[in-house]
Symmetry: C2
Subunit: 170 residues, 2 copies
Amino acid sequence: MLIINIGNGKGKTTAAMGQAVRALGHGMKVCIIQLFKGKDFYGEQKILKKLKNLDFYSFSPKHPYLFKSISKSAVEKDCQKALDLLKNMLKSRKHDLIVLDEFNIALRDGFIKLKDLLELFNKYSSKINIIITGRAAPKALIRAADLVTEMKEMKHPYNSGKKFQKGIEF
Amino acid sequence: MLIINIGNGKGKTTAAMGQAVRALGHGMKVCIIQLFKGKDFYGEQKILKKLKNLDFYSFSPKHPYLFKSISKSAVEKDCQKALDLLKNMLKSRKHDLIVLDEFNIALRDGFIKLKDLLELFNKYSSKINIIITGRAAPKALIRAADLVTEMKEMKHPYNSGKKFQKGIEF
């Protein structure tokens, strides 16, 4: 099953992580591949890495939009490594659930080709549950998906000038 | 901060659980109080209960909508116990984050009074982060909240006749 979490609201990544914890609770095997998420910056990284039956990988911790000194070609190279790892993980059939955190962003910015991902999903998503997160997804990915949820911002403290808060936003 | 996850889509509870894991990763103390969620039925219950710095409570595991033999007065009594526990937890100031899973449902069905909850939130939510989940929330609760996300169903396999899936829906 191919599951996609999109939208401008909070909860795309945390829902995927909560989903990973849910699957682990049933004795399932889970793989998380994150892009653009910093190293030990997000609280969940520290906890999840210690859990049994969970393989946790992180690539391209910095996105060039926020870190202007990062070259796009280095990011593309790192995203390709993430894609290669995904291929190997899918082939191994070791996992019941694979979370591809922020892969929608890599698709949007051209670091990963939609064609490459769709090929993998066509081959494997009937046997393995795959969750992809990131603000917006290409239409062809939405069409291919079984379950799509839009996390929609109704109200957010940024809008009243409050800052990002540790333990909530990261 | 008062955070609310509503909507007809997937991810309200899993996002709250992912949020709990995020906070734990920063060494924060977390309390989860669940309503109507069965006993050791949801995968996350098994994992989260074992984590350090997390207090996990569950009340009224059966909702009378699904379990017709359950009396409403018994459910109301159990929900009041959950509310009393919440009061004590808030007073103790022991936690940085308190998750009130499906409390919106208890409000909708009259098992908990909105007035009672709002009183607590007015008193404590400036110091403690509180997350409430459940399909729909009363307008007064939305007004009181700092951060509201609607999880909106865009596509769901139920609609093409597929069954609830272990590790995904529970």
